[in-house]
Amino acid sequence: MSVRFIHTADWQIGMKAAGLGNAAATVREARIHSIERILRLADDQGVDFLLITGDLFEDNAVDRLLIRKVGDLLGRFSRPVYIIPGNHDPLVPGSVWEHPVWAEASNITIARSADPIELDRCVLYPCPLKEKYSTQDPTAWIDAHQTEKIAIGLAHGNVEGLPEAEPDYPIPRDAARRRGLDFLAVGHWHSHVPYPDPDGSVRLAYSGTHETSKFGERDSGNVLVVEIPGRGATPVIECVPTGALRWVSSRHAVNEEGSLEDVLREVRTIENPEAVLLRLSLSGLLFTSDRPRLSSLREIVGTRFLFGAVEDEGLIPAPDDDAWIETLPGGPLREAAVRMREQAVSGSDEQARTVAARALIELFDLKEQSGT
């Protein structure tokens, strides 16, 4: 009598997307659209139910329309959904869980207390959070050793071993075994992390967020499809990507004339740029001859991608590359250009160098504009 389900967490609906300009709305929308993908996956996989282990919402004070939207979405789903509140959306007065949408949907169960939920083939042990911080192990209450059915825990917190200054909802690494669970579905970390037992079987895992939430986030944008063949059997876990957006953060050091061409080529090869958030960080030397390439790069990054940022403040004009300066009319302009180039290369501080480099670019642009 096996059980098959989807484990997901940390949807963080309503999360802010600062520094993404016009893409912010799209990024926030994407976190909702991906839910539909999860539900389709659930149907395709024919799972018994869906487990959402905390932080479904970014904050209890998110727009009520968002709650309605997500609730309706899950309510229309044909399979049972079990949800525990996490540290971002703890079960407190006025929380998102008081919204009527949850009561309207008969398939949704919000675990409001730490009490076992007995199903046909398994028993769920939900650990809802009721405050933002706690030093208590939320799974401490579970004792599933005597259960004959498959025992599945739902928790939200920090699995011990993660670099945490203070214990914050600490969950022992061996919590599943210790509590007599076949599988402990954990939320909170946005990356997918399995915790294998010494025998290699995984009974405790972070599913990670279903949609990547920021640059530099590893192994995110997935859900776990878990199948537990029977009480005591090793769970079979499949990590399935569900995220629509890709967050690409790339750094390039350019030190030779023409090396921007490589960057350009790389950027051009990124697929589906309309679903990619790209942060390109450039450092090194900028040659006059590379200026058009830099412009093209800015153009491509700024227009083709859902979001694109070129951080080129780390670029300084190449010291030997003063050909254009020589073409300036002799006199104050050339003199000033020489001075500013000097400052751009060996200015007293980063800011001074950046300003000087930028001033040179301005002069260069004005020169091009004047047609000299």
């Binding site: 309503g14 999360m15 802010k16 997307a17 600062a18 520094g19 993404l20 300009g21 912010a24 970014e58 904050d59 209890n60 004070a61 998110v62 727009d63 009520r64 329309l65 968002l66 407190v92 007065p93 006025g94 929380s95 008081e98 403040e313 300036l328 009319p329 002799g330 006199g331 104050p332 302009l333 003199e335 000033a336 001075r339 500013m340 400052q343 950046t354 300003v355 000087a356 930028r358 001033a359 040179l360 670019i361 301005e362 002069l363 004005l366 020169k367 504009q369 004047s370 000299t372």
Partner: protein, 896 residues
């Protein structure tokens, strides 16, 4: 450019066409007396070259000859860039312009109208405004080369002249393209900053200002939203707290309710026991009551029996005593009657005392009346005497004449006056004393009186002024004296005598001593009258005489009255002392007998009363004793009416005692059961009940609080604050990024602008050096080395001078007028020299060097001669002799 020829028609003072030229390529002196129009000629040249021909306005109106409707026209022939041109312009009515170029010795038209104006400007590289008058700043090189009258000093240089100078110096600073780029840099800078370098504000503010404002707005919004979010979380906590409180209160209320139920049961049990105890106590009380009642009855029977016995004895005794008392009363009564009679007898004698007393009083009064009468009669007698005497003296006084002292004094005075008047009269008369030897008859002829004079008796005859007597037998003797005076004295004498007569007339004497004596006698009588009156007054002593007489009558009547009652008093008046002694003896005797009779009476009266009282008392006691005896008999009858024997009764009493003891034991049992419960649970129940109510209220209160907190929370939750917060933070991040980028760009633009500006400044400072050098040399030649080196601004305007001995540059104002003039001329020449590098240039000096002395003028002329190798110089002056020394100069006299 150099000028070849010039001509004007209808130009200010020049009505007839006037032409001048051809000019020398080197030195020219145009001279004319003051007011002839040298400057007009210079002006005509400028207008021909730079003004558009269709220019209008008041300024151009002025060049029309005064009071005429003529159109001024001018032509100028000049060389520029190797070509020779001729321009003809007519202004105002029929304005026109024509430009010719010399080709093979002939002027061929190349442009006319506006095209001519435009072409001309191109040739001269001047940049006057599209229309209107040309001003000095639009003269192009003329700004330097042409010094208008009184404006030798170079104030500023505009347009591309500076650049021309720099390029002539081979020290091109920016060049045309550089200038353009510099302008672009400046324009870019001015998009964001003011010239002063402050970021622009207001309508044309740099975009960063708007972004910063937006940032501020968003930051405030963010603060507000965070506060709102905090309030939301706070509200959530409040709801939680309220729920917890309510939960706690409910738990406590439940616990209390349980306690209350348990305690209530205990309280009910307590009440039951308490009731039981009361009931048993009542039973015991009844038993006790019964026992005691039986005892009391037995006691009472015994006591009643004893009472009856005693009563019977005392009734017998009382009966005997009562009879004795009755006898005592009768005896006392008899005695009483006897003493009463004795008392009455004694009392009747007391009336005699009163009578005797009255007699004594009457005797006393009788004597008093008699004494008074005697005194009264004496007084009346004295009164009579005094009044009689007074009448006599009054009569005597009334009959007496008594002049008053004033009249006596006057009389004495008048008598004196009369004597004096007589003496004066005698003195004023003639007196004749005759003493005959024998008697003789003498007739006074003076008054016709006849006198017989005894012999030997001197007789005096007196007369006024003259006395004449006829002596018988003798004849007449006449004596005379001085005339006058006797009449006045005689009048005095008569007056005195008349007055004396009047005064003495009432008294019949004019002897004052006699009158004085009378006066004194009258005074003595007056004193006597006063004394008598006093005496009468003393006798009256305030009484009226009539009343005294009346009183005397009264007294006599009273005395008669007394004597009527006591006839013996008339013969032997009573002696009061005797009567008094007799009376006292009598009254003592009477009073004593009355007192003893009264004592006896009172004694027998009280004895009688006592006997009667005693008898009544005894009678009452006897009656009471008999009544008590009867009552006791009845009571005993009732008490023993139970049909029991005394033994039966004692038995019954023992039974009642046993029943009482049993009931008491029951009470003790109930009490010990009650004592097993500590205190009355009802009181604690009451307390707990109150607590429970308070707790129920607390539950209700908490529920209310919870509801209101929930209301607040719902309202706050509905706002979806976090989503708005997120949106705000996103916007803020966006804005901050924009500001960062804008700021960076602005800083870059500022750096660019400032770096270019600084570099240019440094370069420009280097550029003016050769000009300063050349001017310095020229100045040294004219004024010696003392003045030192002129200093030019970056725009080639002479600005200061750095004298040899000075520590630093000094203002040009510090130079003398002549030296200033020389320096400004040299500055122009030094700059003109530069400009003439490629081709000869025209220099116009309109009426300059007026303040320069002839010594220095000579050296200036040498300088001009020298520099005219490269410049065409036209000097306008009204002192041609000052320039005669100029070698090779053409002189032109200007006439009308």
């Amino acid at each position: 450019m150099i000028v070849k020829r010039i001509g004007v028609t209808n130009w200010r003072g020049f009505l007839d066409p006037m032409e001048m030229g051809p000019f020398s390529e080197r030195l020219n002196v145009i001279h004319a007396p003051n007011g002839t129009g040298k400057s007009s000629l210079f002006e005509a040249m400028r207008r021909a070259l730079f003004d558009v021909h269709h220019v209008g306005g008041a300024e151009i109106e002025e060049i029309r000859p005064w009071g005429r409707k003529l159109s001024p026209s001018v032509f100028v022939e000049f060389s520029e860039g190797g070509n020779t041109y001729r321009v003809e312009k007519t202004f105002m009515d029929g304005a026109s312009a024509k430009l010719f170029q010399e080709e093979e010795g002939r002027f061929q038209p190349i442009a006319d109208g506006r095209n001519a104006d435009t072409r001309l400007r191109e040739i001269l590289s001047a940049d006057p405004p599209g229309r209107g008058l040309c001003r000095q700043e639009h003269w192009g090189l003329g700004q330097i080369l042409w010094a208008p009258q009184g404006e030798l000093a170079l104030k500023q240089i505009s347009g591309g002249v500076g650049e021309s100078l720099r390029s002539a110096l081979g020290m091109e600073v920016s060049g045309a393209s550089g200038s353009r780029l510099e302008e672009l840099v400046e324009a870019r800078f001015l998009e964001f900053f003011t010239r002063g370098g402050a970021p622009k504000k207001g309508k044309n503010a740099a975009p960063v200002v708007a972004w910063q404002q937006k940032q501020e707005t968003l930051e405030q919004e963010l603060v507000d939203l965070r506060e709102e979010h905090r309030r939301y979380e706070e509200a959530s906590r409040q709801v939680d707290d309220a729920r917890n409180r309510r939960e706690q209160a409910r738990r406590e209320a439940d616990a209390l309710r349980e306690s209350v139920a348990g305690l209530r049961k205990a309280a009910e049990e307590y009440v039951r026991l308490k009731n039981e105890q009361v009931r048993k106590k009542e039973i015991a009380e009844i038993a006790r009551e019964r026992f005691e009642s039986i005892g009391r009855t037995l006691e009472e029977i015994k006591a009643t029996r004893e009472t009856i016995e005693g009563l019977e004895k005392s009734v017998a005794t009382l009966s005997g005593e009562n009879e004795q008392a009755k006898a005592d009363v009768a005896a006392a009564k008899a005695l009483l009657e006897k003493t009463r009679t004795a008392r009455e007898v004694a009392r009747r004698r007391r009336d005699l005392i009163t009578e005797k007393q009255k007699t004594i009083d009457a005797a006393r009064d009788y004597h008093a009346c008699r004494d008074e009468l005697t005194k009264l009669e004496q007084r009346l007698e004295r009164l009579e005497e005094h009044e009689t005497e007074l009448g006599r003296v009054k009569k005597e006084r009334a009959e007496m004449i008594s002049p008053d002292p004033a009249k006596i004094r006057e009389l004495r005075r008048r008598l004196g006056e009369r004597a004096a008047a007589r003496a004066a009269l005698a003195a004023s008369q003639v007196h004749l004393t005759l003493t005959p030897r024998k008697d003789c008859e003498i007739e006074n002829l003076t008054d016709a009186g006849k006198h017989t004079i005894k012999g030997g008796s001197p007789t005096v005859f007196s007369g006024d002024e003259v006395v004449e007597v006829l002596i018988r037998e003798f004849g007449s003797v006449r004596a005379s004296g001085p005339e006058g005076g006797a009449d006045a004295h005689r009048a005095h004498l008569e007056a005195a005598e008349t007055r004396i007569k009047t005064l003495s007339q009432p008294f019949g004497s004019d002897d004052p001593d006699y009158l004085q004596k009378r006066r004194e006698e009258a005074d003595a009588l007056d004193q006597r009258i006063a004394a008598l009156r006093k005496q009468i007054e003393m006798v009256l002593d305030g009484d009226e005489r009539d009343s005294m007489v009346g009183r005397r009558k009264e007294l006599k009547a009273t005395i008669d009255d007394f004597e009527g009652q006591h006839p013996n008093w008339r013969s032997a008046p009573p002696v009061v002392g005797l009567l008094q002694t007799e009376f006292e003896t009598f009254s003592r005797d009477v009073n004593e007998s009355v007192a003893s009779a009264e004592d006896a009476f009172e004694r027998s009266q009280s004895d009688h009363a006592a006997a009667e009282k005693r008898q009544v008392e005894l009678n009452g006691m006897l009656k009471a004793g008999q009544g008590n005896l009867e009552t006791a008999g009845k009571r005993l009858k009732v008490l023993v009416d139970d049909g029991l024997s005394d033994n039966d009764r004692d038995k019954k009493r023992s039974e009642a005692l046993m029943a009482w003891q049993a009931a008491k034991a029951g009470v003790e049992a109930a009490e010990s059961e009650l004592n097993s419960i500590p205190g009355d649970p009802a009181r604690e129940l009451e307390k707990l009940e109150k607590q429970r109510q308070v707790m129920e209220e607390e539950v209700a209160h908490s529920r209310d609080q919870e509801k209101s907190a929930e209301g607040r929370l719902q309202a706050l939750a509905a706002r979806g604050t976090y989503s708005r917060l997120a949106a705000c933070e996103e916007s803020l991040a966006e804005v901050a990024d924009r500001i960062r980028r804008e700021s960076l760009r602005m800083e870059a633009i500022r750096l660019l602008y400032e770096t270019v500006r600084d570099a240019k400044g440094a370069l420009l400072a280097r550029v003016t050096a050769p000009v300063e050098e050349s001017a310095s040399r020229m100045l040294a030649r004219v004024a010696g080395p003392r003045l030192g080196r002129p200093i030019f601004t970056q725009d080639f305007v002479p600005d200061a001078i750095n004298p040899e001995i000075s520590a630093g540059p000094v203002n040009l104002q510090n130079l003398s007028g002549g030296e200033q003039e020389q320096l400004h001329l040299i500055a122009r020449l030094a700059l003109a020299d530069l400009l003439a590098k490629d081709q000869r240039q025209l220099v116009v000096l309109d009426d300059v060097l007026n303040a320069t002395d002839s010594g220095r003028l000579r050296r200036v002329l040498s300088l001009l001669e020298e520099i005219s190798e490269r410049l065409q110089i036209i000097i306008l002056t009204c002192h041609p002799e000052r320039y005669r020394a100029l070698e090779g100069a053409e002189f032109f006299a200007l006439t009308r």
